[in-house]
């Protein structure tokens, strides 16, 4: 069948189909795309609405759900849904929504039970999505509802009742009232307000990546707002650093003085740059050594972060011609871990 004939045939077909329902308008581009079959729709249409619409056949209880939870969920969300390590807390937090540090969980915050099913079905377990069958998801929904004191442990959650379970915080959501916080009257252009008072400084707080400090929770998109506090200066994890060193392995031996593409790194700490025996360094590396560059935690960290740039700094030019063809490590944590590893591994 030629393309033209096919297109005409499809158009005719579309017309025939539309005759059935009086209101249906004709397609403007009938040759583009095709009707989805019921089987196709069923395989993809996984959503569940608050009224229970879309809930697939199946059922489960908290007791059944607990078994699945302990095997497939607890490793990240904690045995009691307590979260940890920034994984979401799933249980508790009642009465905290007005607090300084509110804890928003399924029990304390979520307005609809259907959302639990809808979300677990599509997205959990993290990294193995859509691997659970419907009974398992009903069971998990029941388990999380039970642990949040919303249903009893023998309540069967199913397509029939998921749209009717009442969530305690349901009434506390209201539609967007913005715009808000608008100035009243004429917009001030001159001599507005009193003397300037500084009440906070990000530099003094010193938690910005790449310039210092360590974690405060800036995870606004996925968890509660931030703690304005400075945590202890992080120190690296040598074990993790070992795998970071994979990036260096091709060129350096860590526990030997033998040279490869790059110089041997044994006995690195305290050594002047560009001075390892029998290694032919670049002019710039040797010049940096002559100027006093000695390998320490700090100088190695800065060098691996940006080899050309850092060596350049030593020589007062923008980029040095080091022979080390390595772009640099971006992650601060990786660098700290690497240093911790190098310290152990390069010991004489």
């Amino acid at each position: 069948m030629s393309v033209l004939v096919k297109r005409i045939a499809l158009t005719v077909l579309a017309v025939v189909v539309t005759v059935g329902s009086a209101s249906a308008a004709e397609r403007q581009y009938p040759g583009v795309g095709r009707e989805a079959t019921p089987a196709e729709i069923q395989s993809w249409d996984i959503d569940v609405r608050p009224d229970g619409k879309g809930a697939p056949p199946g059922h489960g209880t908290a007791v059944q759900g607990e078994r699945v939870y302990l095997v497939k969920c607890a490793s990240c969300h904690g045995e009691f849904g307590e979260g940890g390590g920034r994984y979401p807390v799933l249980i508790g937090g009642f009465g905290t929504l007005k607090h300084q540090r509110p804890e928003k969980t399924i029990g304390s915050y979520w307005p609809y039970a259907s959302t639990i099913f809808d979300y677990i079905k599509r997205a959990m377990p993290f990294g193995n999505a859509q691997s659970l069958n419907n009974d398992e998801v009903y069971g998990l929904t029941a388990y999380l509802l039970f642990m949040n004191d919303i249903i009893t442990d023998d309540t069967v959650v199913s397509a029939e009742n998921i749209g009717t379970i009442e969530m305690p915080n349901r009434v506390n959501f209201f539609d967007d009232p913005r715009p808000d916080a608008q100035p009243k009257g004429e917009l001030c252009m001159k001599d507005c307000g009193g003397p300037i008072k500084v009440v906070g400084s990000a530099r003094k707080l010193d938690v910005t990546p790449e310039t210092g400090g360590d974690a405060v929770d800036v995870s606004a998109a996925s968890s509660a707002p931030t703690e304005t506090q400075v945590a202890a200066v992080p120190s690296g994890d040598a074990k993790a650093g070992r795998s970071v060193f994979n990036k260096c392995k091709a060129c350096h031996l860590v526990d030997s003085a033998k040279n490869r593409v790059g110089p041997g790194l044994k006995d690195l700490f305290g050594r002047a740059a560009g001075t390892h025996e029998d290694y032919k360094y670049s002019k710039d590396m040797m010049a940096a050594g002559d100027k006093g560059l000695v390998w320490t935690d700090e100088t190695i960290a800065a060098f691996v972060a940006d080899p050309k740039g850092y060596l350049g700094e030593q020589l007062a030019k923008s980029r040095a011609n080091t022979r080390m063809a390595f772009a640099g490590i971006r992650s601060e944590k990786d660098i700290l871990d690497l240093i911790a590893y190098l310290k152990e591994a390069t010991k004489p």
């Binding site: 583009v32 999505a129 300037i196 940006d306």
Partner: protein
């Protein structure tokens, strides 16, 4: 961790890229701008003339050495940056657009910020489909090839994460415009109007919502009211002239102009038409705004009018007294930016900035304060934007009065940059 500079007399915040640029700058300006002893010595060594650099003598790189071009190696510090400890995993995480390094209003594709909930899906376009089902006359299935045959529009829009600035509710916290404002980008999106696709399927008269769903492992789903769906949404296939980047939803993403970024579902695989909101996790557990009374706003879609100065800023200290560029970005999800005012004294007195065209609705707008000279004194820089609905960007104290500090999303407060006598710039909060 601080990178230790051997030139300790160069007193600028240190990070990649910045270092390099301030060195360049210092080198160019000789000893006047920064009293950079060691440096000035080095660059001033040839008092009589200028070097003939190697690139003026030798041949450059051949064609095709880089079939897909990259920025100069001297710009290699201009990258998206994230915060390692921010989230439980790197796959559900965010990074930030380096706004400090950009001018104009278009964001280059490779540095548009990322936010994924299950990693950036590497989708094979030959196997990808877009389904439209639910309350329609005929459920449809489009391949990517099909979508590429339909009429297109091309429009510039900004995309901002609702949590942009979410770390700054309580106080000034992150010292860099990349982190305080970098969850925004602006590109030209090209694709099929969503309205056209919905009309192909035939929306039933009672339907008043759609649900859009991603094909990634998060299966990201959001509800959108029908009025918006039929207004200006685009099923996008291209950004800035080329096909979408993987991390921006290749091969198909939804564009929802002016609305929060979470709704711009990437790797779009399905649109269901219905007669109520779905109340998905991303519009209940997340992307609802908790108020001080314990109640929460829902369906807070529009991104309110906002602006920020991108130069100077913490990453771009002022190199010296006299002429300097004062510029920034303004935008509004409700319409078009009509005016931006700039203050040097923390909002006591304001000057009107010049809007650089084109000025388009729901699009980033570049502004400049022409003729600005820095006299070397301490300055508290602010910018305040207005849009064509009459909305005025508020101070944080005004926002906090209404919303408290736990609403996470929709922080569009005026930003203060404190310029120190050294030219360094810091993020401060004024009371």
């Amino acid at each position: 961790m601080r990178k230790k500079s051997s030139n300790s007399d160069i007193n600028v915040p240190e990070n990649e890229g910045l270092d390099r640029r301030s060195f360049l700058r210092a080198g160019l300006a000789g000893s006047t701008a920064l009293a950079a002893g060691g440096l000035a010595g080095a660059s001033g060594a040839k008092a009589a003339g200028l070097d003939i650099p190697i690139w003026s003598q030798q041949l450059g790189i051949d064609v095709d050495a880089l079939p897909y071009g990259k920025p100069s190696v001297y710009e290699s510090g201009v990258v998206r940056r994230s915060v390692d400890w921010l989230t439980a995993t790197r796959e559900s995480s965010i990074n930030f657009t380096p706004l400090y390094a950009l001018d104009g209003f278009v964001t280059p594709n490779g540095i548009c910020f990322e936010r994924h909930h299950g990693g950036a899906a590497e989708v094979d376009p030959a196997q990808h489909h877009l389904m439209i089902n639910g309350m329609v006359d005929r459920p449809l299935l489009f391949s990517v090839e099909d979508l590429l045959r339909l009429p297109r529009v091309s429009r510039f829009f900004f995309l901002e994460c609702a949590a942009n600035g979410g770390m700054e509710w309580r106080n000034a916290q992150l010292n860099g415009v990349q982190y305080t404002h970098g969850m925004v980008h602006c590109v030209q999106y090209t694709g099929v109007p969503l309205k056209l696709l919905l009309e192909e399927a035939g929306v039933k008269p009672k339907a008043d919502w759609i649900m859009v769903e991603g094909g990634d492992s998060a299966g990201m789903n959001r509800s959108i009211p029908m009025a918006k769906a039929l207004d200006d949404c685009i099923v996008a296939l291209f950004m800035n002239g080329e096909r979408l980047r993987v991390e921006q939803g290749y091969p198909v993403r939804l564009v929802v102009p002016g609305f929060e970024g979470n709704m711009w579902v990437k790797w779009l695989r399905r649109i269901e038409v219905g007669d109520g909101a779905w109340q998905a996790r991303e519009e209940t557990s997340k992307y609802t705004d908790l108020m001080p009374d314990g109640r929460a706003r829902r369906f807070t879609w529009e991104m309110d009018c906002k602006s920020v100065i991108t130069n100077p800023c913490p990453e771009n200290p002022i190199p010296g007294k006299g002429a300097n560029v004062l510029t920034g970005l303004a935008w509004s999800g409700r319409g078009t930016v009509t005016r931006v005012d700039v203050s040097m004294d923390g909002g006591r007195n304001w000057l009107e900035a010049r809007l650089e065209g084109p000025v388009m609705p729901k699009c980033l707008t570049r502004f400049y304060l022409d003729g600005w000279e820095w006299d070397g004194s301490e300055v508290y820089l602010q910018s305040r934007a207005m849009d064509d609905t009459g909305y005025v960007q508020p101070q944080m104290v005004e926002l906090q009065k209404v919303r408290g500090v736990n609403s996470i999303y929709h922080n569009n407060a005026i930003q203060t940059w404190h310029v120190l006598k050294s030219g360094e710039v810091e993020n401060v909060r004024l009371g």
